[in-house]
Symmetry: none
Subunit: 287 residues, 2 copies
């Protein structure tokens, strides 16, 4: 029986893992290769205090090294479902089963509904965060496709630094967008380019753009644990990273914006420390 | 007018600062030398993901280097009070005044050790700054209780204008204090007076004084902004690091446990990003 099962091997999961291991808990991180993470495609991260101007892959390497140094155990595989069993949980990890007293969900931003070209050009002109990668497009032409109102922040930020910004919202009602932004309608059909994005096709029309920002919904993880309480599309947690299931915590992008490494790492640590408190209470109640 | 005034130069403050600067905001960090922080005394920190097995002083060095690389501006000095001015705030930093659209409080672990009488007589003979309020005590008898070496400045200044100055340092080693000052030892038990300070009790001994100057690491946050909502001894914030004052955010140890660098850094970043959203909304409302 594990003390803590951590679902997700990104910054939140790894931070939770090192904090659990330091507190002498039996921990396994269930996750997929870090190459699947958004961070791996980040050209540059500059806002994680103490590690200035670092590339995404280098950052992942440093994070993994830290975890390995502390003896964190990994199990590769996608967790398909978590079953509440009374006072513990059973995880189905691609049809291998694990039992754990507690669970930390750190699954990141789930991906869905790819536009043709999106996967291929991710990190080569396609980005999921305007406020993060925008500075790479200073003086250039960019397009934001926004599934959610928060996209307007990205749009307004890009408008400050880009030569030209198009905005294609796929949600209901625009709230606060700078008048300098050109609003478009239609359906994005394909992202165009050779080695790097050079344009996008909206319905039958082709537009020249240097970058495409896809501001996506976070897909619910309600399939993972049935009955998990959500807040919009992200997992509802309090400041202690507790979900509505006792012993199930969540950290990082799956708990909502801002989608930043630094937030994920902080939350992962808090989730682990709260989990440790929870385990201690469980032990005391047993005695 | 600053976009963001950050009070505190520890991990939370520095993380907020780099995130504000990356988003093109005009930021100043108001704080004292990091040598005063708890982190500086940490022999080893091993749970900040990506920086395994690092000493406290080395960690501070890395953090400061990152901030300096990004051009973060610092102003040394203790912030004595923050005044809400409608749609902006004015900071009194040892009697220099700064205006800022938003404020991030990152003052560290709250030391809520009030001396009996301290709250009651604040502004009536009790002050947190000798160089600011000293002139009111010309020709009188005052006492300085100093938690930090900087208190010596207040002591030496008061000695020039007061008839008599007592000094009770609670830190290790006195550096430069005028020989005319009478140094005391003991524990301050109570500040005495009727409507105004008339004395102080140190252990069992009562001294007649007209003013008591308490030179602390940081001014208690409840004195910093009158009306700030607390939760026990820490500042009440939600998951967006918002306090009950619009445009005032808080991050790090001052918002409660766990008192960990990684939590502080994550929260500092979140506070800065939420502040940026708040500033954008302000800008749009003006237009």
């Amino acid at each position: 029986m594990l003390d803590i099962a951590i679902i997700g091997a990104g910054p939140a999961g790894l931070s939770a893992a090192i904090n659990g291991v330091i507190r002498n808990k039996k921990v396994i991180v269930f996750g997929r290769e870090p190459k699947s993470s958004y961070l791996y495609k980040a050209e540059k991260v500059d806002n994680y205090l103490g590690m200035p101007n670092i590339s995404g892959p280098k950052m992942i390497e440093e994070f993994l090294n830290h975890a390995k140094k502390l003896g964190v155990e990994f199990h590769e595989g996608r967790t398909l479902e978590v079953f509440p069993m009374g006072n513990y949980y059973t995880l189905n990890v691609e049809n291998e089963f694990f039992e754990a007293k507690t669970v930390i969900i750190a699954t990141g931003i789930p991906k869905a509904n790819y536009i043709p070209g999106e996967k291929e050009f991710l990190g080569k002109g396609v980005s999921y965060c305007g406020t993060c990668d925008g500075p790479l497009y200073r003086g250039k032409t960019t397009m934001v496709i926004g599934e959610i109102e928060e996209a307007e922040e990205d749009v307004n930020f890009l408008q400050e630094i880009c030569d030209k910004v198009y905005f294609l919202p796929t949600y209901k009602e625009i709230k606060h967008v700078s008048p300098k932004v050109e609003i478009l309608k239609g359906k994005p059909k394909e992202i165009l380019g050779d080695n790097f994005v050079s344009g996008i096709r909206i319905d039958d029309k082709e537009l020249k753009v240097d970058g495409v920002f896809l501001i996506k919904e976070t897909v619910p993880v309600t399939q993972l644990i049935k009955g998990l309480e959500m807040e919009g599309k992200t997992i509802k947690v309090n400041r202690r990273q507790e979900t509505n299931f006792p012993g199930v915590f969540a950290a990082g992008d799956c708990t909502g914006r801002p989608f930043q490494v630094t937030k994920a790492v902080g939350e992962g640590a808090v989730a682990a420390l709260e989990t440790v408190s929870y385990l201690h209470k469980m032990d005391i109640e047993k005695k």
